[in-house]
Amino acid sequence: MTRVLLVEDDRWLAELYESVLQRDGHTVDVAHHALAAMDVIENNVPSVIVADVLLAGSTIFPLLHELQSYGDTGVIPVILCTNIADQFDLEALKTYGVVRIIDKTTIDPADIAASVRSAL
């Protein structure tokens, strides 16, 4: 069983994605902002991070930058799930551990589980 950290500030989407991932057999930790995500990671290092970009308090990037500072967290694959996917270049974000960018405006909720499977 893999541990997935879901960083999503919309509570309803978080519930939806959490349910999809749990049904796919993952243990899911949910954080609604970057600071909360850091606390979660300190207690349980996830196998994969699924994160929105624009969050309450800050964007996801300070968190991703922080994760790159440590050996154990710098290798966690990150999937960005955002409404502004078309604003990002995957190649440029690979230095943050981003392995995939998915567009919230076009995906089916079940695609979250498929993306996590492919990132493992």
């Binding site: 500030d9 939806l16 943050y96």
Partner: protein
């Protein structure tokens, strides 16, 4: 590291589009989730309710945008308004949305009544926008509060919407202060928000000879509108 480090700056049009896109994307995802045959009746009802409330949010925003576009050509009736009554009306309108998110919203009542001078519809829209924004930045279990203060020497009444959520970084706060009246902002008031709501609110406040602003707290923020105080009560 790439250019995204620290603060990602969203171009203004993209930011505005994002703000309009976000509720639509949510409705789409919730609708797709409804297709799951394994859902219980209760889950189905909850999803329907969430779709309705999200659609209403999107409609409020688009209606505000069209209103902003017509501001210069329109005439607005200005009248004395009891701010507490207005806040109570806004709270009543948004309570179902807050309840659906497991949050609450309340008016901090005043002992002494006040009157301000404003256009009823525009003020209502400003407060709905601030309160809706506060919902998304408040922590579970906290209550968003609508607070009314009088600054008698300045002759203004301030209605603030206080949320209890993650603190804004100093950098974001500086950008917010700098760009509070320009927009849609390239750096959003809150990261998830384009600042479009603030821009709309500032336009509405302007035509009522008012102003908007924000105060940062250790545990959240207050977004407020200041409007001229009515002299009527003093005459009574």
């Amino acid at each position: 590291m790439s250019d995204y480090e620290g603060s990602y700056v969203v171009p203004p049009l993209v930011a505005a589009a994002h703000e309009l896109k976000a509720p639509l994307a949510l409705v789409r995802q919730l609708t797709l989730a409804l297709q799951d045959d394994a859902l219980s009746t209760e889950d189905r009802r909850r999803l329907h309710h969430q779709i309705t409330l999200t659609t209403e949010r999107a409609l409020r925003l688009t209606t505000n945008l069209t209103k902003v576009a017509r501001l210069e050509d329109a005439l607005f009736d200005i009248e004395p308004i009891n701010p507490e009554q207005m806040c109570c009306d806004v709270v009543a309108e948004l309570t179902p949305l807050f309840a659906a998110y497991g949050r609450s919203v309340a008016v901090q009542s005043r002992r002494h009544p006040l009157l301000l001078v404003a256009n009823r519809d525009l003020l209502r829209r400003i407060l709905l926008s601030f309160t809706d924004n506060a919902l998304h930045y408040s922590e579970p279990g906290t209550a968003v509060e609508l607070q009314i203060k009088a600054f008698r020497e300045a002759g203004v009444v301030r209605i603030g919407v206080r949320d209890y959520g993650p603190a804004l970084s100093s950098a974001l706060w500086r950008e917010l202060q700098k760009k509070l009246k320009t927009a849609p902002q390239s750096v959003h008031a809150r990261p998830e928000s384009s600042g479009l709501g603030l821009f709309i609110a500032s336009q509405f406040a302007d035509v009522m000879s008012g102003a908007i602003g924000a105060v940062r707290h250790r545990d959240g923020a207050t977004f407020y509108v200041e409007l001229p105080m009515s002299q009527q009560l003093r005459l009574l």
